[in-house]
Amino acid sequence: MRLLRPGVVPSEVVLRALLLVLPCAALALALPEVPHGLVVAGVVLSAASWAWFPDHPVGVAPLALVAGWWAVHDVVDWRLLVVGVLLTTAHVVATVVSYGPPTLAIDPRLARLWLARGGLALVPLPVTWLAVRGLDPRLAPSWLWLLAGATAVALLVVTARLVRPEQS
């Protein structure tokens, strides 16, 4: 009996397996504290769906669930860095896989390109982590929060405008 559909390349299978494993591993870092069963089920199911359909918006779900769980529990120790790396890696893997169908062999040059891009994307992670750990938000002037809030809103508006398809 064939486990894979004809033509599916092994590298594709490995990367899709990573899509299932990485969000689960990011949640498993919470052990020995066990997340709520619904959260675990949600992450596993959504990660499985994501692994099946890597080019589908469902991929937001496992990442958001994991990030939300860590945010709710407000853990800012070393594990947060690992969680950040795992989630970013999962996103990059899904992006590489979504370039074509499962029968499309992964282009080594494309993989190297995204490895470099993933590394570049991870640069702000330790910076923000150190900032969060080292800076006391109570000392910040109130206008800084207003400015940050306005900037975030402006970025959201610009993004929403940009991602709208052009009328042809």
């Binding site: 990030a67 947060l80 996103h91 979504s98 029968t103 640069v123 969060v132 052009e166």
Partner: protein, 426 residues
């Protein structure tokens, strides 16, 4: 008409990056800000790489007319690659066409040239290849154009001419030029004899040694060289057996068409005039002709034979053959009317050679139940066919199974000898 749309990867990066950072600031969730930071970079880079022009995409095949087993490359033309980082092509599967990559999916970074797909038809006929979906992706996988569907292209696949050669002459060459030795004396190059000079003989034909020795002028005579009219009668009434293309088993129609192509090529190369009659629902007739262009016409007609068509066999075959023509009937001879029509041709004085193209189509597979209904039916059909062929051979029409090179040597030699026997006309 397609347009550039954000990819799910960009949407994910925007939601996690900007959403995480915004919520982190607004709600004071430091964890969200930290986890969202890498996605901000990915989102920003993806958004910045938005292309603004909609490209025109088309694919083309290097060759539209191929022989079985040959290959053609499908290339992609994109008028504007500005803002395109990656190109993905996925070709649809086509029957009896091998693709490289095997499953037709190929992608590459645009700066290394656009990806190509190689097609190689494995069976003669008309093949539709080139139906594919193409997607273009912008830098950082932010935007995608397509996938768009590109239409298929029709490919004419000529039968592979199986290696065939024969040194046998056709029985009764009757044309003016060619490579067959005639029984008549003429201006050929083959030595026939030496005779005394007669008025009208060319001076260059004088044989001086004999003339000096005998004291009288003698000339060398040669045999004329003639071409022959060869008709190929192709039975395309049914396709029996399973075709595995040139790499696998051959169906009856595969054998028939390839044998016809080989014979046509051989006779055209020899300088003969070759005609073709396809007995099928969409039958075709190509009159006698010679030369490379005529050969292409014959092969093209063979490639147009439909394998899925079913039709009734004719009661008689009207080729309009001249005396001296040879008719090669290429058929598995499974239908009585066609056998009868062939016998009528033979009785009419035409030299008929039946080339049996049944091959292994009715061979029982190992392990098949000999008493099962299909096996019994197959054996009965084979017995009936063998009986018909025996009766046809008794009428004087030789039957030879197609075996490639030299298949017709013995038969044509015998027919030539028979044609040289003096006949008494009634």
């Amino acid at each position: 008409m397609s347009s550039w749309r954000p990819t799910p990867a960009l949407v994910r990066a925007c939601l996690l990056g900007l959403g995480g950072v915004s919520l982190g600031i607004v709600l004071g969730q430091e964890v969200l800000a930290v986890l969202g930071a890498p996605f901000v970079v990915l989102a920003a880079a993806g958004l910045a790489g938005r292309p603004h022009r909609s490209p025109q995409v088309a694919s083309r095949l290097d060759h539209r007319r191929l022989h079985e087993g040959q290959g053609a490359t499908s290339r992609l033309d994109v008028d504007d690659l500005a803002g395109v980082e990656h190109v993905t092509r996925v070709a649809a599967h086509a029957a009896h066409v091998a693709a490289s990559p095997t499953y037709g999916a190929v992608g590459s970074l645009a700066d290394r040239g656009l990806p190509t797909i190689d097609f190689s038809p494995r069976r003669w006929g008309r093949r539709a290849v080139g139906a594919e979906r193409v997607a273009l992706t912008s830098p950082w996988a932010g935007w995608r154009w397509g996938p768009v569907h590109l239409p298929e292209t029709s490919l004419v696949v000529l039968p592979r001419t199986a290696p065939y050669d024969t040194r046998a002459e056709v029985p009764q060459p009757d044309g003016l030029v060619g490579r067959h030795r005639s029984r008549r004396v003429g201006s050929g190059s083959e030595f026939e004899g030496i005779r005394p000079f007669a008025t009208g003989d060319r001076l260059k034909r004088i044989n001086w040694p004999v003339s000096l020795r005998t004291g009288e002028l003698h000339v060398v005579t040669t045999r004329a060289e003639q071409d022959a009219g060869v008709w190929l009668l192709v039975d395309a009434l049914r396709d029996i057996g399973v075709s595995g293309g040139i790499d696998g088993r051959a169906s009856t129609l595969d054998l028939t068409v390839r044998a016809a192509a080989a014979l046509a090529e051989h006779h055209v190369r020899t300088g003969d005039r070759v005609g073709l009659l396809v007995v099928a629902a969409n039958g075709a007739r190509v009159p006698l002709g010679s030369g490379p262009r005529h050969l292409q016409r014959l092969l093209g007609t063979l490639a147009r034979i439909r394998t899925d068509a079913r039709s009734t066999p004719p009661e008689r075959l009207d080729l309009g053959t001249e005396s001296g023509s040879v008719v090669h009937v290429l058929s598995p001879m499974l239908f009585t009317p066609l056998v009868t029509a062939t016998a009528s041709l033979q009785r009419g004085g035409t030299s008929v050679v039946v080339v049996d193209t049944l091959g292994d189509a009715l061979t029982q597979l190992d392990g098949a139940d000999r008493l099962a209904l299909p096996s019994l039916a197959m054996r009965m059909q084979k017995i009936e066919r063998d009986d018909r062929l025996r009766r046809l051979a008794a009428l004087g029409a030789p039957v030879v199974p197609w075996r490639g090179p030299g298949t017709l040597d013995t038969v044509l030699h015998q027919l030539s000898r028979r044609a040289q026997v003096p006949r008494v006309r009634a």
